[in-house]
């Protein structure tokens, strides 16, 4: 009865890990061999069905494989609450959780784990994903604003003013590492070495001032020092790093601080191929967006009033693009241009925009990513090692205890079988240490039987009949077995408190293993012993 239930519990896991990979290989081969369009279409339909079946299995009671076995990433995020009010800080984890969950759902990860942990942190586990892309999606605050842009001449004047003020305040000290640069720089007449203007490269672009990407840090440091001299109601922002013939550059913008519109009014965003007159953007991906009704009305108003001016689309403080408003835009549609030829970035940005902004920036406080190949290798070698160890134990018991050894081996088999099925029922996650835990249970599982058998040997020696020897043997050993296992379970409970994923998996495996162990080793073997002894006249016990 128990065996049937256990088998029933293990069936989905068996299907998932043993049968499905086989079927998947088969399908892929079939697809490779398909000649006609109709054929491959048929196989594709089959594959869709297959994937649905696989997804359905994941929902069932199965043993999940930990990230250390399948590869993937585990990150713990903390929310930067420094800019939040108390009320906002309290709600932030739930909001962030919701936003991140939405983003990951759209990103399309199989079996993600996204949950709140203690201290308002967020745990995200993603099996088998590209780390960089996933981190981008998770961490991007996605704070979108639309801000009016000042023309190039105004930016130049503003920088000049700041330079002068800083100079009179004695704050501009020629930065050491710029000296060598300045010598070869044709634009050094723009300002004294180390001043804001000395960084300006002005090759070709009529629209914006640009600086070398490498200078961004030094430039913004200087800019921040002169913060109080910025034009009233305006702020400086940079564009993304762009590759030009003469090196990587960054555009400098002067924006009206007060946004005309914020991204919460966004209804949807989607990636598309650029279709416009700009040849440089041909074949690149863009993100088209659409504002909701209220946003569209506001957008129409803003664009109508500012025809001829430029409006910057600012994402997380970076100016993504700053197109000139040609006419009033009534429908609330716009476009974010990107330097993306593959479409990944556009797709990811759309996902991030669609799921809304994080309540505050998040930082990664803990990360564990494991490459898939390491996982595959580890699981293969772990399984081989466990199997070798188990076989050694089985053989030893057989040789050492004879008939009793068969019983112990039987109990051991059942033990592993039941352990796996209970892990499936608990939807436990099997990790690398968990695997070691199973192997260890195998080694220790025979302990109960060893205790019993040794006891029976002793009792037989003192002249008892087999029946009586078995009886007292089991009785005496039981107390010891329970005491011995109870203490190990206490340590398993302690282990569970350490609580990081893999160790927890180990603790559960160990504890469950021990409980089952006592059951199978004591009650099952006893039952068989009794059955055997009552059926046959046994003169001497060979144990």
């Amino acid at each position: 009865m128990i065996i049937i239930i256990a088998g029933f519990l293990l069936w989905p896991s068996f299907q998932l890990y043993i049968l499905l990979p086989r079927q998947e290989r088969f399908l892929k081969e079939k697809l490779a061999q398909a000649v006609t369009r109709a054929d491959s279409q048929a196989v594709l339909t089959e594959m869709v069905e297959f994937n649905r079946h696989k997804a359905a299995l994941y929902e069932k009671r199965i043993i999940h494989l930990g990230l250390d076995l399948v590869g993937g990433m585990h990150v713990v995020l903390d929310i930067d609450r420094s800019q939040l009010s108390e009320e906002e800080a309290r709600r932030a984890p739930d909001l962030a959780l919701e936003v991140i969950r939405n983003r990951i759902d759209q990103f399309g990860v199989f079996e993600p784990t996204i949950q709140k942990t203690d201290k308002g942190r967020i745990l995200v586990q993603l099996p088998g994903v590209d780390r960089e892309r996933a981190l981008n999606i998770i961490k991007q605050p996605a704070h979108l604003t639309f801000q009016l842009v000042e023309e190039k001449a105004k930016v130049y004047d503003a920088l000049k003013v700041i330079d002068e003020k800083l100079q009179t305040a004695g704050l501009i000290t020629p930065v050491v590492d710029t000296v060598s640069r300045v010598e070869s720089d044709t634009t050094s007449e723009r300002g004294i070495p180390g001043s804001l203007l000395s960084y300006i490269k002005d090759e070709g672009d009529e629209l914006d001032l640009m600086i070398a990407a490498d200078d961004t840090a030094a430039f913004s440091r200087l800019l921040l020092q002169g913060r109080e001299f910025w034009p009233q109601g305006y702020e400086f922002r940079f564009g993304p790093v762009e590759a030009e013939e003469y090196g990587k550059v960054v555009r400098v913008y002067l924006l009206k601080s007060e946004p005309e519109l914020v991204g919460t009014r966004l209804r949807r965003a989607e990636p598309a191929i650029y279709q416009g007159a700009d040849l440089e953007r041909a074949n690149t991906w863009v993100v088209n967006f659409e504002l909701d009704r209220e946003g569209a009305a506001r957008f129409a108003q803003v664009t109508g009033r500012n025809v001829g001016r430029r409006l910057a689309i600012v994402l997380d403080g970076v100016v993504r693009s700053a197109p000139r408003i040609q006419e009033r835009i009534p429908n609330g549609r716009g476009q974010i241009t990107m330097n993306d030829r593959r479409g990944d970035k556009a797709k990811d940005l759309s996902i991030v925009l669609n799921s809304g902004a994080l309540p505050a920036p998040v930082v990664v406080v803990e990360e564990r990513s494991i490459g898939a190949s390491l996982g595959a290798d580890a699981i293969r070698r772990g399984l081989i090692a466990s199997a070798v160890g188990a076989i050694a134990v089985l053989l030893f018991m057989l040789v050492y205890y004879g008939a009793g050894g068969i019983l112990a081996d039987l109990a051991l088999f059942l033990n592993i079988f039941l352990l796996l099925s209970i892990l499936a029922a608990l939807r436990a996650t099997l990790t690398l240490p968990g695997l070691a835990g199973i192997a260890l249970t195998i080694g220790m599982a025979v302990d109960a039987n060893v205790l019993v058998f040794e006891r029976i040997r002793e009792e037989s020696k003192s002249g008892k009949t087999p029946m009586a020897a078995v009886d007292t043997g089991y009785q005496r050993a039981l107390v010891t077995i329970i005491d011995a296992n109870a203490t190990t379970i206490i340590t398993a409970i302690a282990l569970y408190f350490i609580g990081s994923g893999p160790v927890r998996g180990f603790a559960i495996t160990l504890a469950v293993g021990l409980v089952i162990n006592v059951m199978t080793a004591v009650f099952l073997t006893r039952f068989i012993f009794d059955l055997f002894l009552s059926r046959f006249e046994v003169k001497t016990l060979r144990i």
């Binding site: 990664v364 494991i370 490459g371 290798d377 134990v393 010891t480 203490t487 398993a492």
Partner: protein
């Protein structure tokens, strides 16, 4: 088949020798722990650990120069037996974000080795606050485990056996830690799990013997406590050895055949089982006898 027949080894009479051996072992371990110390994993120190696998052999100096170009000259680089590089850095990225180092490293590798593909096999980063929390959690877990065992054993037996078992497990733990220090094993949460399991195993072993001593003291009333204890150890000797052996089969298989992380785990288990078995045979009962002779209880006359 029988490995160990009827034995009558004088475990108790020769206890001075075993005490001296154990004291020496513990002393050496403590000295190792104090003076050599441990190599702590990222879990406890915080910081980043990146394991890179290159498709073609790469010199360690090349990797080092990439790191110094990134301004990470303090990073430690180590090559594994499979030729992968393990790169460790101190915690805390400037932005407080621990994922930054790995991201920059990937970019830098891609730029510095344009013709070689590489894979980041493992990537761990733990912020300083998390590592502190983990440290206290581990200490708590170990304390909880020991206290739990002490309470259980004292309740089921009596306090003397409880202290005997706990002293033995401290003995085992110290020796295992000494081995970890000697072989420069990295202390990770997985390793702590192994140590706690050793504790469980050691107590398990001690209890079987204590159980037998208790049973025999009720049965045999003529002989002294020391003699009864000696008999009990001899009676349970074959069980102690066989269980130790079967468990060793598995841990040694893991030690030889499994991958690095499991291997460290198996190493601790193997050492732990050997000394756990040793201590339950030679130390636990002797400690109980020692206290019994100094402070006789009324149970034995």
């Amino acid at each position: 088949m029988k490995l160990i027949g009827n034995t009558n080894i004088q475990f108790i009479k020769n206890r001075k020798i075993f005490f001296i051996i154990s004291l020496l072992l513990v002393l050496v371990s403590v000295l190792l722990i104090v003076f050599k110390g441990f190599r702590y994993g990222v879990d406890f120190t915080g910081g980043g650990l990146v394991q890179v696998h290159f498709s073609q052999p790469v010199k360690i100096d090349a990797v080092r120069s990439v790191l110094s170009a990134m301004g990470e000259s303090g990073a430690s680089i180590q090559q594994t037996e499979t030729g992968d590089f393990l790169i460790r850095v101190k915690p805390r990225d400037k932005a407080g974000d621990e994922s930054g180092f790995s991201t920059r490293l990937r970019q830098q590798f891609a730029a510095s080795f344009p013709n070689i593909t590489f894979e980041i096999v493992r990537d761990e980063a733990v912020g300083p606050r998390i590592s502190k929390e983990l440290q206290s959690k581990v200490l708590l877990a170990i304390l909880l485990g020991i206290i739990g065992i002490l309470i259980y054993v004292s309740f089921r037996f009596d306090f003397r056996f409880g202290t005997g078992a706990v002293l033995a497990l401290i003995h085992d733990t110290l020796i295992v830690l000494g081995f970890c220090s000697l072989f420069n094993k990295e202390i990770t949460t997985t390793l702590i799990a192994a140590i706690l399991t050793v504790i469980g195993y050691s107590v398990n072993d001690s209890i079987v013997i204590s159980d037998r001593i208790r049973e025999d003291t009720r049965k045999i009333r003529k002989e002294s406590f020391a003699e009864v204890a000696n008999l009990a150890i001899n009676q349970t000797l074959s069980r102690t050895v066989i269980t130790g052996l079967t468990t060793l089969f598995v841990t040694i298989a893991l030690l030889v055949l499994a991958t690095a992380e499991i291997r460290d785990f198996a190493f601790v288990m193997t050492v732990g089982i050997i000394f756990g078995t040793y201590s339950s045979i030679f130390i636990v009962a002797n400690l109980v006898v020692e206290t019994e002779e100094r402070f006789p209880t009324r149970r034995r006359r």
